[in-house]
Amino acid sequence: MQENRNEGLILRRIYLDHSATTPVDPEVAELIMKYYLESYGNPSSVHFFGRQVKKAVEEAREQVAQLIGAQAGEIIFTSGGTESDNLAIQGTVRARGNRGKHLITTAIEHHAVLDAFKYLAKNGYDLTILPVDEEGIIDLEDLVKAIRPDTILISVMHANNEVGSIQPIAEIGKITREKGIFFHVDAVQSLGKLPIDVVKMNIDLLTISSHKIYGPKGVGALYVRRGVKISPLVFGGSQEKKMRSGTENAPGIIGFGKACELAGLRMNEENKALRQLRDKLIKGIMDNIPSVKLNGPSGDKRLPNNVNISISFVEGESLLLSLDMIGIAASSGSACTSGSLDPSHVLLAMGLSHEVAHGSLRFSLGRQNTEEEIDIVIQELPKIVERLRAMSPLYNKVD
């Protein structure tokens, strides 16, 4: 099998990278096709073609709102999580920058949040980046202490994309609402996996993305609580209540709506299955490979579909390549996979050394994964690790 890399020769591929993206649900795909081929009007048009699509877009807005406990009028469709994060952060600063210059976020945010804040920090704003503990969770006391009279925005992600740690969002919401500070939550990874209620959680701005919940890529939304004023970043034809101009990606939005509806229906049952597979995979790896560490929390403080481990003495990209060769898709926080050649900022913030972060491996499970697939990973991964360790100068030094 290793001699011939003809990709077709791998009989069965196992996809365990659902936090990167998910396949589109067949029901969603079918619906989208209709809006490409038949109902292709511009939702802004007055004629039948336009009206028909406009109606479907507004239905999608309802479906999205429902999954997070919002009103349809509070949903702005965007091109995805990255744009929603930027709109929330830069839009708040543009609208409220005259009231204060202080911003707060955490060390483990997605780069869409962190880099937007870092840009603002270079341009006249004060930024506090909260640390996390070894499980990847912030301390509420740190947050309270960081708040200043001129704090205008606090942004904390709901669940982390790398290690699956879940933050105390409702508790933070109580604090921010009391102080009148805007609270933005990046819920890209938690949507459809954890219950979200923007009202109960006192959230002002919430980022979500379609392609992590079996919807199409390049679509997302920002929830903006009624009464919360932010400024748009994109000007033009006044779509999305002037908050996001540009002809709507109607098929994408409609698909996203459907995906939200399905996620709401399936969440409970699906999570039960995912948790079982997750815990089986964690146990299988820990029992069969020596010198392995689970990164992030266990149990209910962890996303139901996330497994993140560090395997000592081996490097993550080598692991990924080896897994890919036998048809298993995962991801890693290794410096060698990062493009920037720094290991994952999330793992470093949790106190991992460069070396241990280097050997990190993330499996993110999804709807269609089976127990049999998990068994295959548990069976194959130890062999790969053994081969790479035999090649590693670090391993030799230890024994």
Binding site: S334, P343, M391
Partner: protein
């Protein structure tokens, strides 16, 4: 993103391991991403008779390690010292731009091992 040759050397690396009581040892770390490579070699009549490597690093790092051992095995020390990082990368059919630094490790480790051998020799 990797060439067939890189994948081949990653999958079936040549000369993996460690020579016992080697004539020269070269260990270099990669400042860029923290990877490490160790070369051990035996020299006879100024020729690299045997060479082995161990590498902690990405696919490109493993492949370049493997390739450099192939390139210098059986060569004179002088010839081996002229092997450049670029030559190793080229022998592998090229590397992605972000991975060019990984090839530095390989040639540098070989050169370090040769230097170690020469240093030891001049001491006796």
């Amino acid at each position: 993103m990797y060439s067939e040759k890189v994948i081949d050397h990653f999958t079936n690396p040549r000369n993996v391991g460690e020579i016992e009581n080697p004539d020269g040892i070269g260990e270099v770390g990669n400042a860029k991403c923290g990877d490490i490579m160790r070369i051990t070699l035996d020299v006879e009549d100024n020729i690299i008779k045997d060479i082995k490597f161990k590498t902690f690093g990405c696919g490109a790092a493993v492949a370049t390690s493997s390739m450099v051992t192939e390139l210098v095995k059986g060569k004179t020390l002088e010839e081996a010292l002229t092997i450049s990082n670029a030559a190793v990368a080229e022998a592998l059919g090229g590397l992605p731009p972000l991975k060019m630094h990984c090839s530095n490790l390989a040639a540098d480790a070989v050169h370090a091992a040769i230097k170690d051998y020469l240093d030891k020799k001049t001491k006796v």
